[in-house]
């Protein structure tokens, strides 16, 4: 064989460690460069996220770097041409920044909320959120409103941490694992590593998913649930557990609000709120004293069940009494829900009993001494080794918040949270329920010129007073987040921004600034309509959205609609902080963060978006970015990351703080912090001691460290909330019984009264309740394949070889009933629109579900691809079928097609019919996008890489 090949050429090889950017996992990567050029990307063996492995996207990073779609220089829309026509002229960075600074300065000094700044799949929300707050606009959010807010909000209003980003299953110790609605792309390597561990350990893996691919392919048992009915299935499991009294009563009494007393005064103010003492503490009935006592006290023996009289003579029941009355009712029995959710009654009952067996007969005890927040010593931790995880198929439905709460209810009943073998928290979580961050909602502050917001744009409302509405009850935010229409919109509602801004509902804006968000294509519902909106003009001939700024590294469909294009770098060309202030990469056993640093020199006239934000913040003299003498505080992004402190000693990076780098988690700025990260393979991990790893909602050993690190404010019990009082307050407002703001419009009253149940419940997805379901017999859902994530992997010369055309997948028997066969071209039609695509049949899809790969379809000419690329001619988007608004009923105002609680885009609710098409070819067809000026990227017929 030849001598040591490429990677071994002495003297020319350089190894760098940095962080992948291909999805939200943010794995550590070890990059080998030869003569300065990329040679090989592999996983970093010691990294807490990926432990050395790497997915297809990560390994294909080389071809992302070589993409023909890379933007090369700042551009402005060619004067005299129409927006969306794709005609641009190159400009200098000076001109781009001067233009933008002038425009933003004018907005900021007149009406700051006329800037809407929304980011897509970015990993720097701590910076963009700070920037928006300093600008003074409430109109900022990232893409969580159409991605994961139902998971985050349901968790943070129930258990203090959440599925998706703020918790992870204990893969090493779980003996029974239920995966609910997780598409192939969430989350990548940690789940794969974990599933292997489960299987080696002999644990049982159950997947609840309408589609059997990816993770579900290797499940020991597959439950093909009907889309949107997971909540019914979960509550039937609750029914079985409660009816057979298979619950952890000690866990419920000690760690949840199950014994708290709830006022029972239907039709009167205060109904459904907790009975509280003068200090505001919730009350329980103490069986030892035979009297009411504070639910926060220890030494009591709270009654789990019963009806009691309050000091002011009202009746009150325990949460647990309300729960058993609710869920043991026949309407939640397996037999009652089986037909609707597509899983037979015997199976539901068996799954519940298997979970209960593992929880209660295969209990784990670890001899770990720990101290609780009350100061009591414990000599062991107990694990009821059932773990669950959930994501897309739960979150993207209009009943997703309540469904996710139903999953957390199962965990609480089993006492299967934060113990060995459970779903466990990732620092900086758990946090108080809900976290004590309120969104800015003062109209005067929002309207004040040249003034930062007093609070962050996003937070967690606990009551109607926290909504961002004006005196008349109208939304203060352009996306209507925190309005009566979506009160707990903790991630904002990016999917509403364009439609609302164009409608001037609730008001018009001046500038829409988008970062890495493909809103003109696969990240919008109603794609063609959205493109029309971006082009829409008023009577005077002005664009209804007057100015659109797009920053991206690549030529997306949305770049085509920009008035100003600010080209970003790739992930290998810039500094980044993957911060605990943002979306943490911690694991249950270690708090962690990481960085990126430039390992390739720039060969184009592009700038990191982070640097542009720091530059704009300095030019616009944001208080946090300029000194009292008016001079800029930070020379650039790396300097900002080192020296900005959110609170004393708390910055974007937690590792190697302190002047000498010896203060982990908290300490003074360290001028050599970047070097320390780079020397440590670009990540920081602080491993928790055994006594800090479990039961952290009441673990003093952990919480003292968490307070010191500023993760939480104080050491205190975080009591899990089976019954959500914040939801009840909103429901009372809908009923006109709240002592505070109440909505005036009938739509809001009805939605609050119907959907804000303080106990987890299930309701029909909103679109389904408004259409003729017989006319649209299929649910249509999507997922991203494991080797792709969001829209930008089709530009990858290797990955698109694996998948360039998406098909509509239908169950073999369902297709036969409709006379459809593999490779037939079919029309797929919803109440909102239709697409033509090609069909394939399979066994592994529930019979009333069709599905496809998400975001494979491309507008011709985008993403550096040729105009006749398969993605454009044969690929398709389901987005065309999904309306951003609900089907209207007579006399009703326009309502968002979203979860009524969180505003999460309900893109999994869509129902369709499928019919054979006489013609072939994907439809609708969009006009091709022209090449950008200066695009001289080679697109050879053959690449011989290497």
């Amino acid at each position: 064989m030849p001598p040591a090949a490429a990677a071994g050429k002495a003297g020319t090889t350089r190894i760098e460690h940095t962080t992948c950017y291909m999805c939200a996992c943010r794995c550590g990567i070890k990059v080998t460069l030869e003569d300065g050029a990329l040679r090989f990307i592999q996983g970093t063996a010691s990294h807490p996220v990926n432990q050395g492995v790497l997915c297809a996207k990560g390994s294909a990073g080389i071809m992302k770097q070589h993409s023909a779609a890379k933007l090369r220089q700042p551009l402005k829309r060619k004067p005299g041409t129409e927006r969306g026509a794709g005609e641009f002229v190159p400009i200098s960075w000076d001109e781009a920044l001067d233009t933008l600074t002038a425009r933003l300065a004018n907005i900021r000094s007149t009406d700051p909320k006329k800037l809407a700044f929304f980011t897509g799949r970015d990993q720097m929300q701590a910076l963009t959120g700070l920037w928006a707050q300093q600008f003074g606009t409430p109109n900022w959010a990232a893409h969580g409103g159409f991605c994961s807010v139902n998971m985050a909000a349901a968790g943070l209003y129930s258990i203090g941490y959440s599925f998706w980003e703020f918790g992870a299953p204990d893969w090493d110790r779980a003996k029974y694992f239920v995966l609910w609605g997780v598409a192939e792309d969430h989350a990548s390597n940690p789940i794969k590593i974990g599933l292997d561990k489960l299987k080696r350990n002999g644990a049982k893996f159950v997947s609840v998913n309408p589609v059997r691919t990816g993770y579900s392919a290797i499940a020991d048992e597959w439950l093909p649930v009907r889309p949107g009915t997971d909540g019914l299935l979960a509550l039937a499991i609750v029914h079985v557990l409660l009816s057979r009294r298979l619950v952890d009563e000690e866990f419920l009494i000690r760690y949840t609000n199950a014994p708290w007393l709830v006022v029972q005064s239907p039709g009167k103010k205060g109904d459904g709120l907790f009975v509280r003492d003068a200090a505001g503490a919730p009350l329980v009935y103490d069986q030892k004293a035979g009297a009411l006592a504070s639910g926060m006290d220890i030494g009591t023996a709270p009654a789990l069940f019963g009806e009691y009289e309050t000091p002011d003579g009202r009746r009150a029941k325990t949460v647990m009494s309300l729960a058993v009355e609710r869920y043991m009712d026949e309407r939640y029995s397996p037999a009652a829900v089986a037909a609707q959710c597509g899983v037979d009654a015997a199976t539901i009952e068996r799954i519940a009993l298997e979970m209960a067996h593992v929880a209660f007969q295969e209990t784990i005890e670890l001899p770990i001494e720990w101290t609780d927040v009350y100061g009591r010593k414990h000599d062991k931790v107990i694990g009821r080794p059932v773990a669950m995880y959930a994501m897309r198929g739960i979150s993207a439905h209009s009943n997703g918040f309540q469904t996710c709460r139903a999953l957390h209810l199962i965990q609480m009943l089993l006492g299967a949270l934060e113990g060995p073998g459970n779903f466990r928290a990732r620092a900086p979580f758990p946090k108080p329920i809900p976290p004590a961050i309120l969104p800015e909602n003062d109209a005067a502050v929002m309207n004040a010129p040249d003034t930062p917001l007093g609070r962050p744009p996003l937070g967690f409302p606990a009551r109607p007073e926290d909504l961002a509405i004006d005196k008349e009850g109208r939304p203060l935010r352009i996306d209507k987040a925190y309005s009566w229409e979506s009160p707990i919109a903790a991630h904002g509602a990016m999917h509403n921004v364009i439609a609302n801004a164009v409608a001037g509902d609730p008001y018009k804006i001046d500038t829409l600034m988008l970062y890495m968000a493909n809103m003109a294509w696969n990240s919008s519902m109603n794609t063609a309509g959205t493109q029309d909106m971006l082009r829409a003009k008023d009577k005077s001939g002005e664009y209804k959205i007057p100015f659109i700024v797009v920053s991206d590294a690549f030529h997306s469909e949305t770049v085509n609609f920009a008035d100003l294009v600010l080209p970003d770098t790739t992930y290998l060309e810039r500094h980044d902080a993957i911060s605990l202030l943002d979306r943490p990469i911690s694991e249950p056993d270690a708090v962690a963060d990481s960085i990126r640093h430039p390992i390739l020199p720039l060969d184009r006239d592009v700038r990191p978006w982070q640097e542009v934000l720091i530059e704009l913040a300095s030019r616009l003299r944001f208080p946090a970015f300029v000194a009292t003498d008016g001079k800029r505080k930070f020379s650039g992004y790396p300097d900002f990351i080192v020296n900005y402190e959110r609170a004393p000693g708390v910055g974007f990076l937690a590792g190697w703080r302190g002047a000498d780098g010896n203060s982990p988690l908290r300490g003074a700025p360290n001028p050599k912090q970047w070097d320390a990260y780079i020397a440590n393979k670009s990540f920081f991990a602080h491993h928790w001691k055994d006594n800090q790893k479990y039961m952290r909602f009441v673990n003093r050993d952990y919480q003292e460290a968490a307070v010191a690190a500023a993760f939480i404010g104080k050491v205190e019990p975080i009591v899990m909330q089976i019954y959500s009082e914040p939801l009840q307050k909103f429901r009372l407002a809908g009923q006109g019984l709240y002592e505070g703001p109440c909505p005036s419009e009938a739509e809001d009253k009805q939605r609050l009264a119907d959907f804000f149940d303080p106990l987890p419940d299930w309701y029909l997805p909103l679109e389904t309740s408004r259409i003729e379901t017989d006319a649209y017999p299929f649910s249509a859902i999507t997922q991203r394949p494991m080797m792709m994530y969001h829209s930008w992997d089709s530009q990858n010369a290797w990955l698109r070889q694996i998948l360039a055309q998406n098909f509509l997948y239908m169950n073999t028997r369902s297709a036969a009933r409709l006379g459809l066969a593999d490779f037939d071209w079919v029309w797929v039609e919803s109440h909102a629109g239709k697409v033509r695509c090609q069909l394939k049949t399979m066994e592994g899809v529930e019979e009333s579900t069709v599905w496809t790969w998400n975001a494979i379809g491309k507008q011709a000419g985008a993403w550096g691809l040729d105009k006749d690329a398969t993605e454009a001619t044969h690929g398709f988007l389901l987005n065309h079928l999904i309306s951003e608004s609900l089907p209207k009923t007579a006399g009703e105002r326009r309502l968002t097609n979203s979860d009524p609680i969180t505003g999460q885009a309900a893109w999994f609710d869509v129902r369709v019919k499928v019919t054979k098409s006489a013609e072939a070819g994907a439809w609708p067809v969009f006009a091709p996008i022209a090449r950008l000026p200066g695009d001289d990227a080679p697109r050879p017929e053959v690449i011989r890489w290497g």
Binding site: V53, L54, D196, I218, E249, A301, M328, L353, A869, P940
Partner: protein, 236 residues
């Protein structure tokens, strides 16, 4: 003394079909002096395709709802009786003493006879170089002393997120891979064809049987079920 038989063991119980192995392979071998580059045709064009050493196939067994999806990565099996070597008219295809089947790119004339001889579809003709390409078991990694010892593995094995891929000497009964094969009753693909494939696959494990929690049958009516719940004295 046993004969060395280097090869892969692939666990179909944990393969989720993610293509990580295939792309890591493409990445390493595309720039490998041993057999790279691996050409990509129409990389930004109408119908992208290219040369891969390893492709993942997806199959379904059974009918809904008793169906199962199986993901099967397929690459060179490094057969003991490798017909691809026998049929090669130029001697380009050869089998090393350690069992790895390789193609000498300087001798190959791209006649395709070996590809026709291979029942596993493991060989792909690179139309640009006019030569045959196939899995090398990363021969330039596994013995590469310039790589740290832990990296001296085929790229596919290093990358696999579910650790479904294992590399080692299947001729040594004491090796980790041989023990794994013995424990899980690993099998070779299409043994009836007689080429004695070295690579082994592990079948999906049977699902664990979980007992049901013991409990009394629920009372028939809601009120009786509610009455069944009585307070216990549990101290906070």
């Amino acid at each position: 003394m046993t004969t060395k038989k280097l090869g892969l063991v692939i666990d179909l119980d944990t393969c989720v079909g993610c293509h990580a192995c295939a792309v890591a392979c493409k990445e390493w071998n595309g720039a490998s002096a041993l057999s790279g580059p691996l050409s990509d045709y129409e990389p930004y064009g109408k119908e992208p395709s290219g040369v891969w050493f390893n492709r993942i196939r997806h199959y379904e067994t059974g009918t809904y709802p008793q169906n199962k999806t199986i993901n099967v990565p397929m690459s060179c099996m490094h057969c003991e009786d490798a017909d691809c070597v026998t049929v090669c008219p130029t001697g380009a295809s050869y089998k090393r003493e350690d069992g790895i089947v390789l193609v000498d790119q300087d001798k190959c004339m791209g006649c395709n006879l070996c590809a026709w001889a291979c029942p596993y579809g493991a060989r792909e003709l690179d139309e640009s170089s006019g030569t045959m390409k196939k899995c090398t078991l990363c021969a330039d990694r596994i013995e590469n002393e310039l790589l740290p010892p832990e990296d001296r593995q085929p790229a596919c094995v290093l990358a696999c997120p579910t650790h479904a891929r294992h590399f080692g000497d299947l001729g040594d009964p004491e090796s980790g891979v041989s023990k794994l094969v013995a424990e899980r009753e690993g099998f070779g693909m299409l043994p009836e064809l007689g080429y004695k494939p070295v690579n082994r696959y592990l079948s999906p494990r049977s699902a664990p049987q979980v007992p049901l929690a013991r409990s009394a049958a629920p009372a028939p009516s809601l009120s009786e079920r509610i009455a069944g719940w009585v307070n216990k004295l549990v101290e906070r």
